[in-house]
């Protein structure tokens, strides 16, 4: 196992180095050569100081082994070459013996201290490297916003620090490992089986372990405190020493806790969504049953009256009209619900074709003829407006819903204006009324499903404008609601379109 070449493990593992020993040997030999004339002049005691000095100097930049060699060598050569009788290891003078012993003790102690100092320094550097690596890992992991980001960060960090390819096999949230990795062929089937085993029993397996050791990958369970995020699979060739092993373990536990955090976050989000959808379901259920019940009740009581009692002609006609309008209301509800479900299930297929926008607006006008009778409707279309590429049905429905909304929220006799133009390859349809407009608060919500700004006044499911938004967005367009300065609402639709191509059109004479 190597952490970034030339960095951490390199220093720890750098072992035997011949040139350092040679340097020690050579230096001592050189000093001996220099000291031979010196000892002739000022005696052999000074040589011991010089040798001591050289050994201390050497210990500043040589390793423990060469220092010890230099220490012992210097003691031996001093004795052999300088202490009389020369060229023997014998020492006659008691004083010389004493000094020699002291010299020997000092150089050995120097060597020991140097070694210890070096060792401590090495440890400090090592510790710093470990801490730094862990710090970078946790900093990077904290940037992750979801599980997949955390995994990609962890994979990169492991690759950077340990030079091994890591692969995470995660569980699906119900304690089942997801075998999607099988699809991209990174993991073989039997390897996934090992993953399962490792995940269930929470023990290491694979290469360099006791289990499945013939496998060329190693499998580590990610042991979380609350949940087990999954299994880590690595392809590695180096062995770990004890220290490296514990560093690796800490590293993995940091990754595990980050993954665990993301898992819990996701679970919390799921729970929130679930409770939201539960709430939505209740609101939906209440409003749909309420909205359906009213027209059904109307029809029931009207038909009852028609069947059982003899009414005069006028009342009979009125009852029929009641049934008719309740039916239209029911039909509109069903249309809206169907459109909404088409949008929700993504089954809106936009069938773009060239259309004259005037046709769309006229169609809406004639569909809403009865409702618009008591309003002053104006349809203003830009002169010579080009054809637009839209889905007729969807845009018709969108405009219909907006105009119908205006009818519902405006008093009779007021203006409703539809303006259509093509500007910069965008079809713009503005629909303005003189009704009550939108409250400041509701402006942010009116395109939301089932949002109703004034429930009592008009009824409805609150789907109309959300369908408008859905249909316009299906065209890659936008829809914006605002209040007009003089009161009333304004809805603006902006739909990208294109210029029709008429290259082949024949110019005809009348």
């Amino acid at each position: 196992m190597i952490i970034r070449k030339n960095k951490l493990w390199f220093k720890i593992l750098s072992g035997f180095r011949l040139w350092e020993y040679l340097l020690a040997l050579f230096t001592i030999a050189l000093v001996v050569c220099i000291c031979v004339p010196i000892s002739k002049i000022s005696g052999y005691h000074i040589v011991s100081y010089l040798l001591l000095l050289v050994v201390v100097l050497l210990s500043a930049f040589l390793k423990t082994g060469p220092i010890m060699l230099a220490s012992i060598l210097s003691a031996v050569v001093w004795n052999f070459f300088f202490i009389p009788p020369f060229l023997t290891f014998k020492i006659n003078e008691t004083e010389d013996l004493l000094i020699y012993s002291l010299f020997f003790i000092i150089v050995i102690i120097n060597g020991i201290f140097t070694t210890r100092l070096r060792h401590q320094k090495q440890k400090a550097i090592e510790g710093e490297e470990f801490t730094n690596a862990l710090f970078i890992l946790s900093r990077e992991l904290s940037k992750a916003r979801n599980i997949s980001e955390a995994i990609s960060i962890a994979t990169i960090q492991i690759k950077d620090n340990f030079n091994v390819k890591a692969e995470f096999i995660l569980q699906d949230g119900n304690n089942n490992l997801i075998n999607t990795f099988l699809l991209d062929n990174t993991l073989r089937l039997h390897e996934f089986d090992i993953c399962q085993y490792v995940f269930e029993n929470q023990i290491n397996a694979g290469k360099k372990t006791k289990l499945f050791s013939d496998c060329d990958k190693t499998f580590y369970p990610l042991k979380g405190n609350v949940i087990k995020p999954g299994v880590l699979v690595v392809e590695q060739n180096n062995s770990y020493n004890k220290k490296q092993q514990s560093f690796w373990d800490i590293y993995i536990s940091l990754v595990t806790s980050a993954l665990e955090r993301e898992f819990l976050k996701e679970k919390a989000l799921e729970a929130k969504i679930l409770s939201e959808s539960d709430k939505l379901y209740k609101v939906l259920f209440n409003s749909i049953s309420h909205e359906l019940r009213i027209p059904v009740a109307t029809i029931l009581s009207a038909t009852d009256s028609l069947i059982s009692t003899k009414n005069n002609k006028e009342i009979t006609r009125e009852l029929y009209l009641e049934i008719s309008s309740a039916t239209i209301r029911l039909n509109r509800l069903i249309e809206n619900l169907l459109n909404m479900s088409r949008l929700e299930t993504g089954r809106i297929a936009v069938r773009l074709d060239w259309y004259d926008i005037r046709d769309v607006l006229n169609k809406v006008h004639s569909e809403l003829k009865e409702e618009l009778i008591s309003f002053n409707i104006r349809i203003i279309v830009q002169k010579d407006i080009p054809l637009v590429k839209i889905d007729f049905g969807l845009i018709e429905q969108a405009v219909y819903n907006v105009v119908y909304n205006s009818v519902q929220h405006s008093s009779k006799g007021t203006d409703i204006v539809i303006n259509a133009a093509v500007k910069d390859k965008n079809l713009e349809i503005d629909i303005e009324d003189n009704g009550i407009g939108f409250s400041e608060k509701s402006l942010n919500y009116i395109f939301n499903k089932f949002y109703r700004s004034d429930i009592k006044r008009t009824g409805g499911l609150g789907l109309g404008l959300s369908i408008v938004k859905g249909f316009v967005e299906a065209h890659n367009g936008i829809v914006v609601a605002s209040n007009r300065r003089n009161g009333g609402a304004k809805i603006k639709m902006k739909i990208p379109t294109d210029n029709p191509d008429f290259i082949n059109i024949e110019i005809e004479n009348e």
Binding site: N331, R342, W354, D356, R358, D359, N504
Partner: protein, 227 residues
């Protein structure tokens, strides 16, 4: 209108069958009812009705298959019933030989108008070279068009478009059908031509081109000439 004209209704919904039976008999038609596609094909062969109303959503067979089956041996007009927002299905059915369509829910008056338009267009094929609709008078032999007696200047394409529409007055004609019959097969995808010429034609023949009363738009499907 002949009181003995007969209509076959192929629809799986009992309430719809009953209501159609009541209203069509009240309108003077003889009515046959079939509750599924297989029965419908047999009934069409045995009773030989003057018109068939076919629901596309049948339990046993695909309505489109029933339509194609009928079209192999019968040229009697067929009106299809379908639910809303299924333009593609409607266009396919019209291209497969259906004469007209109605989307559920529909109004009774609308249904009767379609039935009469379809029956009439079958009868009057090629009987007269002059068509009069509202204020419009189209002389197909002399290739002239008059509005309120005033002669209109139309281009060749505008005239042939108007003729096709007017000859099928009351019936829906799909974009594809119009493009193929006026411009030719190579133009069946070029809806923009149709739009431009319809707009030009409207300018010339409609009293108020912004609110056309003669050439009516059928959302996403085609055009229908008023009767």
């Amino acid at each position: 209108m002949n009181n003995y004209e007969s209509i076959l209704i192929i629809d799986d919904e009992l309430p719809i069958r009953r209501l159609l039976e009541i209203s069509l008999e009240a309108a003077g038609f003889k009515v046959f009812l079939s509750k599924c596609g297989k029965d419908g094909i047999i009934d069409a062969a045995t009773h030989n009705p003057d018109l068939i109303i076919l629901d596309l959503g049948l339990p046993d067979l695909d309505g489109m298959d029933v339509l194609k089956d009928l079209r192999i041996w019968s040229d009697k007009p067929i009106i299809i019933l379908t639910v809303r927002s299924q333009e593609e299905e409607i266009i396919n059915a019209l291209d497969a030989g259906a004469n007209d369509y109605l989307t559920k829910p529909f109004r009774n008056g609308e249904l009767l108008a379609r039935i009469r338009a379809v029956l009439r267009s079958i009868k009057k094929i090629d009987k007269s070279s002059v068509i009069r609709i509202k204020n419009l008078e189209i002389d197909m032999v002399n290739r002239t068009v008059r509005n309120d007696g005033k002669l209109l200047k139309l281009t060749i394409t505008e005239f042939s478009l108007l003729c096709i529409l007017a000859k099928n007055a009351g019936r829906v004609l799909t974009h594809q059908y119009l493009l193929k019959n006026v411009w030719g097969y190579n133009y069946s995808e070029h809806t923009q031509y149709l739009r431009v010429f319809v707009a030009q034609l409207r300018k010339k023949i409609e009293n108020n081109p912004s609110f056309p009363e003669l050439i009516l738009t059928e959302s996403g499907i085609g055009y229908r000439f008023s009767e």
